[in-house]
């Protein structure tokens, strides 16, 4: 059992190639910046005799060089991963190749998603249009990669994320772990001799369990309050806006330090907050169905009854931990984190929804609805809200990223999560104490978190571009 190298056998050829490509990329980028600043990048205009000048300007040449060297570097990296994937054992595959192999469920699911989506993209509305934009596609791929990693985390992880192996404390990436089934610590060991790679993979699950759900709740709260505030205006708007600005003026970290402490759990404040925040999805759905079907009582009663039944059942379990059947429940510290993140995010959503409603309510179709005699809630939820969906979906993506960052911040300050939790924020916090000597335990989750948020931002960018095109 030897120490693994980063690139395995294929690296002997591909590494020098990669170095050359990266060097060329750096030079080309620098040259390009100089040419742009010197104003030498404009395309040449046709000459006075009408013939177009064949020669390219220096700026264009530099940008061509940037493009080719970028693709060369990318190609070298992909070859390395692919070569690793076909090699029989981690020794020949190298660390990168072995990791690429371990992620096979995520790759397979990703490939299936892309093939199906691109095949049927014309029938899939805004989601299908996403595949017309390169940026959006890259972002979507990164996000889905982490989603599938979270789903298949048990298969991908090489070790138990909590198991400690003697002798592997702070070992560098690729160290052999002789007593284990897999045999290697692909990304090394942390300060408690646990496998960094497995913790990073399991951490994806921790992060993706909370962030989207918390964002969804924040949207429910923000929409339910923002619609009437923007539509009716007046005193209601003044009061809610003042409260929203109050929360927004709070420095986030101070609020976390005040809200997410063990002591505060004893006072019951998280439960009060949860009781307040978790009621909004139920209100939202009841009003949604009631405003649409109140002319058709049997249907209305069915939908509203279902929402009430399921909603209050979940509500009793999530907010008060008193689910009679014991299916819905949340650990107290998880509830504390969740509630604080929803609380911090809701005012931002409120402001966006309120602004959109104020803009849209002046449109003709809203006036037409009012003239028809539709109720205000019908107009808000079934006329205005669907027309505000573009910016809201974009903001939803951005806000999941922001929530991920917030959760990381909580973990970084050791607030709310259990000390050995593999979530990325607390792993970074654990690793930073020995950052000078052993950077790998902290850098791994840092890169993971960064790539997930980057993916979400790119996805939002692609969606914005495509929804503007409508």
């Amino acid at each position: 059992m030897d120490q693994l190298t980063w690139t395995g056998t294929a690296g002997t050829v591909l590494l020098p190639l990669l170095q050359v490509a990266l060097l060329a990329l750096a030079l080309a980028l620098a040259a390009r910046l100089v040419f742009v600043l010197a104003g030498l990048d404009a395309p040449r205009l046709p000459g006075p005799d009408g013939t177009a000048a064949a020669a390219r300007s220096p700026g264009e040449l530099a940008s061509l060089a940037v493009r080719y060297s970028f693709f060369a570097a990318l190609g070298a990296i992909i070859c390395m991963l692919a070569a690793g994937a076909v090699m029989p054992s981690p020794v020949e595959a190298g660390i990168l190749g072995a990791m690429a192999v371990r992620f096979w469920p995520a790759w397979a699911a990703l490939a299936a998603t892309f093939v199906l989506s691109i095949r049927y993209r014309r029938k899939l509305g805004l989601y299908g249009k996403l595949f017309d934009s390169t940026v959006g596609m890259i972002g979507f791929a990164i996000v889905m990669f982490w989603v599938f990693t979270a789903i298949f985390a048990d298969v991908i992880a090489t070790h138990d994320a909590f198991a400690q192996m003697s002798g592997l404390k702070n070992k560098p990436p690729g160290s052999a772990a002789p007593d284990t089934a897999y045999g290697w610590y692909l990304l090394g060991g942390d300060h408690l001799a646990r496998d960094v790679f497995s913790r990073m993979v399991m951490g994806a699950r921790e992060v993706l369990k909370i962030a989207p759900a918390a964002t969804l709740f924040a949207f429910m709260v923000g929409i339910t309050l923002g619609l009437p505030a923007g539509y009716f205006g007046g005193r209601l708007d003044t009061v809610i806006s003042f409260l929203a600005n109050l929360v927004l003026a709070f420095p986030v970290i101070l609020l976390f330090y005040l809200l997410v402490t063990p002591e505060i759990r004893n006072t019951g404040i998280p439960i009060v907050l949860a009781a307040f925040l978790f009621i909004f999805p139920i209100i939202f759905l009841i009003v949604l169905f009631n405003s649409r079907y109140h002319t058709n009582p049997p249907k209305r009663n069915l939908y509203v009854g279902l929402v009430l039944l399921i909603g209050l059942w979940a509500y009793s379990g999530l907010a008060f931990n008193r689910d009679p059947l014991g299916i819905w429940s949340m650990q107290p510290n998880m509830l504390n984190v969740f509630v604080s993140v929803v609380f911090v995010n809701s005012p931002g959503v409120f402001r966006i929804v309120r602004g959109l409603v104020m803009d849209i309510k002046a449109r003709d179709y809203v006036a037409a609805g009012q003239t028809r005699g539709e109720g205000p809630w019908y107009i808000m939820l079934w006329e205005i809200l669907p027309n505000a969906r573009g910016p809201l979906i974009v903001d939803f993506c951005l806000r999941i990223g922001y929530t991920t960052i917030l959760l990381g911040t909580l973990g970084f300050f050791g607030l709310g999560v259990s000390p050995d939790s593999p979530d990325w924020g607390s792993t970074i916090d654990d690793g930073r104490k020995l950052l000078n000597l052993f950077p790998h335990p902290a850098v791994t989750p840092a890169l993971a978190l960064m790539s997930l948020v980057l993916g979400l931002n790119l996805l939002a960018d692609g969606l914005r571009e495509e929804s503007l095109r409508d």
Binding site: N245, I253, L254, L258, G408, P439, A446, N457
Partner: protein, 362 residues
């Protein structure tokens, strides 16, 4: 204009009072007071002794009255025990209560006594704020010019390769929170084992086992050097650069499609002077607001970076105050934070009106 500023100031005052009250309430919750009693008195106190300590030290009674005392609009508490010894908010034990002032709160300049620093809050917080001020100044000096340059360059020709590259860079930096970029920067530049420091050392450009930058900014408290201050400053600045650059780009692309830019181009004015003379002035109005509103964000970054790089400024103090249950210090920190946030909001509003003549406030 005057009325607008007055009304804004009124709302600000109301917000400040509401926010400080919330902080006061949350820090003075019974479990926090019990913890304080045990740390100040003794760990082995019985529950009755804890309650007794809380009553004797003026932490009992209505939360509103206690908030009023802290603010300085309600007379400070006094307590005379069975031995006839008096203690109170406004005087030390053993002093004559009759000579002490009746009110002693924030409005009288009494910020309380920090149990963490073992010193009055006002003095110790002042020194920390000065340290953070230097950090903020350096961040602003790096962040503002860089982000404006990037934004203008990419907004100048929308859709060009430069635009795409710089936009991707901006998105990447906004996706990197401070605790991630800090860790990555340290791993790249400030460790002797990985990153570029061993490379530079092997070329003989820096001394062996030295690093390009220092991963701790504690020495910057005494003397700021390029070596110890670069990484903290870059860590905070990077996150803001992307955001401001994107805003500048949006504003610049909008301006570049205006009629007067086309007119100037058709008149034959060179592209560069169109950008410098016609476009820039109008494109920089919107980023001004964004830059001002970045201050509250910087506050966040400062807390993370100061704990990451061990720079003992305002953010570090906030963390220590919160984790050591130092109630007066935490309250003072929140007052400072709230004032910073509200002032920047006000300045950005007023500044926007001054810069943009199209907006008029009755």
């Amino acid at each position: 204009m005057g009325l607008f500023v007055l009304r804004r100031l009124g709302v600000m005052l109301l917000t400040a009072i509401a926010l400080t009250f919330v902080v006061f309430y949350l820090t003075n919750l019974p479990p926090n007071l019990e913890k304080l009693a045990r740390t100040e008195g003794s760990v082995r106190m019985t529950d009755e002794a804890v309650q007794d300590w809380i009553v004797k030290n003026g932490h009992s009674g209505s939360i509103f009255l206690r908030y009023g005392q802290w603010l300085g609009v309600v007379p400070g508490w006094t307590y005379t025990d069975e031995k006839g010894q008096s203690r109170g908010r406004c005087f030390q034990i053993g002093q004559d209560p009759a000579l002490a002032p009746r009110y002693c709160g924030l409005l009288q300049g009494n910020w309380g006594y920090s149990t963490f620093f073992k010193a009055p809050v006002a003095g110790s917080l002042g020194a920390k704020l000065a340290a953070t001020g230097w950090l903020m100044l350096a961040v602003m000096l790096v962040m503002v010019p860089t982000s404006l340059l990037l934004g203008v360059l990419s907004g100048m020709r929308e859709g060009s390769v430069t635009d795409r590259t710089l936009s991707t860079f901006s998105i990447a930096t906004t996706a990197t929170p401070e605790y991630v970029s800090g860790v990555i920067l340290v791993a790249l530049f400030a460790t002797a084992s990985t990153g570029i420091s061993p490379l530079l050392a092997s070329y003989g450009l820096i001394e062996p086992n030295k690093t390009l930058f220092l991963a701790s900014a504690t020495s910057a408290m005494d003397k700021i050097t390029f070596w110890n201050f670069t990484l903290p400053v870059m860590t905070i600045a990077l996150y803001g650069i992307g955001y401001i650059a994107r805003m500048t780009r949006a504003s610049m692309t909008e301006v570049m499609t205006q009629q007067y830019i086309r007119t100037a181009r058709l008149k034959g004015v060179p592209f560069r002077s169109v950008v410098m003379k016609h476009a820039l002035r109008n494109a920089l109005i919107a980023p001004f607001t964004v830059i001002m509103l970045q201050f509250p964000w910087l506050l966040n970054g400062v807390v993370i970076v100061e704990s990451l790089f061990n720079y003992k400024g305002f953010g570090w103090t906030l963390v220590q105050a919160a984790s050591n249950n130092d109630i007066p210090l935490l309250l003072a920190c929140s007052v400072v934070a709230v004032i910073v946030v509200l002032m920047t909001q006000l300045i950005s509003d007023i500044g926007y009106v001054f810069l943009n003549p199209r907006i008029r406030l009755a």
